[in-house]
Amino acid sequence: MLEVQGLTKKFGGFTAVDAISFDLGEGEILGLIGPNGSGKSTTFNLVAGLYAPTAGSIRFQGREIGGLKPAQVCHAGIGRTFQIPRPFRKLTILENVALSAFYGQNGKVSRATAWKQAEEALNLIGLPYANDAGIDGLGAAALKKLELARALATQPRLLLADESLGGLDEAEMEQAADMLKNIRREKNITIIWVEHIMGVLMRVVDRCIVLDHGEIIAAGLPHEVARNPQVVEVYLGSDADDLQAQTSQRAGEGAR
């Protein structure tokens, strides 16, 4: 579904992403992790079309999308969320999502269809909305949900979820993780999930890529990656312990 080959992005003399390659199968959830400044967001922005690659290729469903404009990438079937939710504050919840549904499909659906798809996305995410409910007063978790609903309304085949857990408490994190699993199950949408904390993510993803200084330092199944000495070194201290705990919990779940 997605094949990334030798993807590189330089900003002046600084190489943010250094010849990384990975691929992604239909319906897979891939975790993209790494400390701050490791190149996760740059990789994301390259796939979403916010940056043009310096070198390398990004093929999506057999078509080269590297260097396309963000709107074109969106029309090609890739939806994304933002780490910090960026809703249109003067629009209602439903308007926010319906706008994505309509333009995300390049205006090729009818008004009514886009409206229905917006309601569907909100229902799938479980964000309550009244017809004229606005954005003001929504909490951090609700805004994250809105962000997801907006991305889903564009009817993507691939969803790029950017730090969907940031700013959430434990319970909300679990909920968000379940939500992503649910999205994959209901819609068979492929997901790349970026997070700089590993915890909950490791329980949900099928495979995991760890970036550091713009390079892939580990890739594979979550519990393999978690034991990789390089990864442990990058995630020194509490994060690494936390990571071990989370993955053994996952192994336990798998046995049930």
Binding site: K69, P70, A71, C74, G107
Partner: protein, 289 residues
């Protein structure tokens, strides 16, 4: 005393009618600024071209007045798009001062070009409309129809912004330019559409004014600064604020002119504007920033 009050009432009503037209002019400028974040300093000069269009099509080519109106709206709308593509787009990412300078330069350019092309004579379409007489009050139909048309246009634009996806995108884009492309909206296309609508509104303004005023190359100066100040007073980019400010300005001009002299009306309006800029620099309904 009785008669005095009647004339004052007539003045207030005239102010309301003028306010309606002023509100329409401000709406176009606010729409452009709200969406593209650039002030069309030459907005009233686009209107001037529209007025000349109506004048020449009716007087020289013998067109029906309403056909000439339609043509003026289309032509000014196209001019709005050209202005965006040729002048605004290249400076979209420049400093605001550069954007003001290029559209300000366009103002001078268009005035000079109009002087060369049309001469400095004052032209009039020569359509005279009767007045609506209510007892001792008399209101020219040209003003009444202009205000009503402006009102209808504003309601239609409001419905468009509220009820269509394109309108929703136009309302949304001013809040977050960066995210629009990621929900599949192409800002370039929204800018073009908005420029076309802004131009069409200037064209409509031209049709309403050409019935009440002579057209000459500097007519823009009678309305451009006024429209700009209405927008700033209301909070630049805030359409509702501009609407309210238009009626405040129109009343000041109308009532000031009634008690003193018509020029004093403008002096009062501008003095009020200056004071307000100290009291509320962000405008009546402007945001905090």
């Amino acid at each position: 005393m009785e008669i005095f009050d009647i004339f004052l009432l007539e003045t207030v009503l005239n102010g309301v009618l003028f306010g309606g037209v002023l509100a329409l002019l401000a709406l176009g400028l606010n729409l452009i600024f709200g969406v593209i974040d650039v002030v069309w300093i030459c907005y009233a000069e686009l209107m001037m071209i529209g007025m000349y269009t109506v004048f020449y099509l009716t007087k020289t080519f013998g067109w029906n007045l309403f056909a000439a109106f339609a043509a003026a709206i289309v032509i000014v709308s196209v001019l709005g798009v050209l202005l965006h593509v040729l002048v605004i787009r290249p400076v979209l990412d420049s400093e605001p001062i550069n954007q003001l300078l290029v559209t300000g330069g366009m103002l001078t350019f268009m005035q000079a070009a109009a002087t060369l092309a049309f001469g400095i004579e004052f032209r009039n379409v020569g359509v005279s409309m009767p007045s609506l007489v209510l007892g001792e009050i008399s209101l020219p139909w040209s003003r009444i129809s202009a205000a009503l048309t402006a009102l209808v246009a504003m309601v239609l634009l409001w419905l468009f912004l509220k009820k269509t996806y394109l309108g929703t995108a136009i309302r949304a884009i001013s809040q977050d330019r960066g995210i629009m492309p990621l929900v599949g909206v192409s800002p370039a296309r929204i800018y073009l559409t908005t420029s076309a609508i802004g131009g069409a509104l200037a064209g409509l303004g031209a049709c309403l004014l050409v019935l009440q005023y002579d057209v000459h190359p500097a007519i823009g100066l009678s309305f451009g600064p006024l429209t700009f100040m209405v927008c700033v007073l209301g909070g630049l980019g805030n359409m509702l604020g501009g609407f309210i400010a238009a009626f405040i300005f129109a009343q000041l001009i109308s009532i000031g002119g009634f008690y003193f002299h018509i020029e004093w009306g403008y002096v009062m309006a501008f003095a009020f504007f200056i004071v307000m800029m100290f009291v509320r620099p962000q405008g009546i309904l402007g945001g905090k920033s």
